[in-house]
């Protein structure tokens, strides 16, 4: 199976643990080079965050397990880049339209 280079996840999590703790926990996973966690919605009990994980060979199951162990729920996998190199999304005429 080819190696996952980037994952972008839409996650719903409780306020505790903090976003710092969540990002640190994912950053500590083997073969993860970096994590970007950005908050885009907050309510009384929960918050929605976008988590971007990049690495040489990101273990999706381990990332999922870490997020769930910290009380989070992955709503959707918004982007995956797999293979030997990072391939960015290309804008097509349809997108420009």
């Amino acid at each position: 199976m080819s190696q996952i280079k980037r994952l972008v996840l839409d996650v719903l999590k409780p306020h505790e643990p903090t976003n710092v703790q969540v990002a640190s926990a994912i950053g500590d996973i083997q073969d993860v080079d970096g994590v970007n966690l950005s908050l885009y919605e907050v309510d009384q009990q929960t918050e929605n965050v976008k988590i971007t994980v990049e690495g040489t060979d990101v273990d999706f199951d381990l990332v999922l397990q870490t997020i769930e162990n910290l009380g989070g729920v992955v709503h959707s996998v918004d982007e995956i880049i797999a293979g030997n190199k990072i391939v960015e999304e290309e804008e097509t005429l349809h997108d420009r339209g």
Binding site: P14, Q45, N69, V73
Partner: protein, 176 residues
């Protein structure tokens, strides 16, 4: 065990409870007997009972609150939080609060009992030590609440004096 601002609540509650309740026992018992061993027995009995009731009471109260919070969060997330970091932190908080409340209560109980344990027992010594401890608690409360230290100390010592006066009045009633 490190304490954060939330745990200051149980530290103060337990300490004031243990200190003043045991002082009340000492003042009350010393009316009928000046025997060190009797005062120490009564005081220790009270200290242990207070520690257990405070600890168990906090355990029950915090368990209820934490479980309620967890259920509300689970409802928002549409998932169970059993066996997660969130649930384990909740369990740790419950245990820490119960131990803090019960432990603070027991340790503070030993303050007014100390003169009697070392066979130099006198009500005045117990009251003096208790008021000194209340001053220290007042400073701690001022530190946590970021209020004026003098006001916190006055509040704490004022409460202590009230209890001492109330028990002394009961003592006088008994003598009459």
């Amino acid at each position: 065990m490190s304490f954060n601002i939330e745990e200051g609540r149980y530290l103060i509650l337990g300490s004031v409870d243990g200190l003043l309740a045991t002082l009340g026992i000492i003042v009350g018992v010393s009316v009928v007997s000046a025997s060190n061993s009797i005062v120490v027995s009564a005081g220790f009995g009270g200290a242990i009972a207070l520690a257990l009731t405070n600890g168990l009471g906090s355990y029950l109260a915090e368990s209820t609150i934490e479980h309620g919070k967890l259920v509300r969060t689970e409802k928002s997330l549409l998932r169970k939080l059993n066996n997660t970091y969130v649930a384990s932190q909740s369990r740790k908080k419950i245990a820490k609060d119960a131990i803090t409340h019960g432990g603070a209560s027991f340790l503070a109980s030993l303050v007014p009992l100390a003169p009697w344990i070392f066979s130099v027992g006198s009500v005045i010594a117990s009251v003096a030590l208790s008021l000194t401890t209340l001053v220290a608690l007042g400073f701690y409360a001022g530190y946590i609440s970021r209020q004026n230290y003098a006001i916190s100390v006055v509040k704490m010592v004022g409460l202590g004096m009230l209890i001492v006066i109330a028990v002394q009045l009961l003592r006088l009633v008994h003598l009459v």
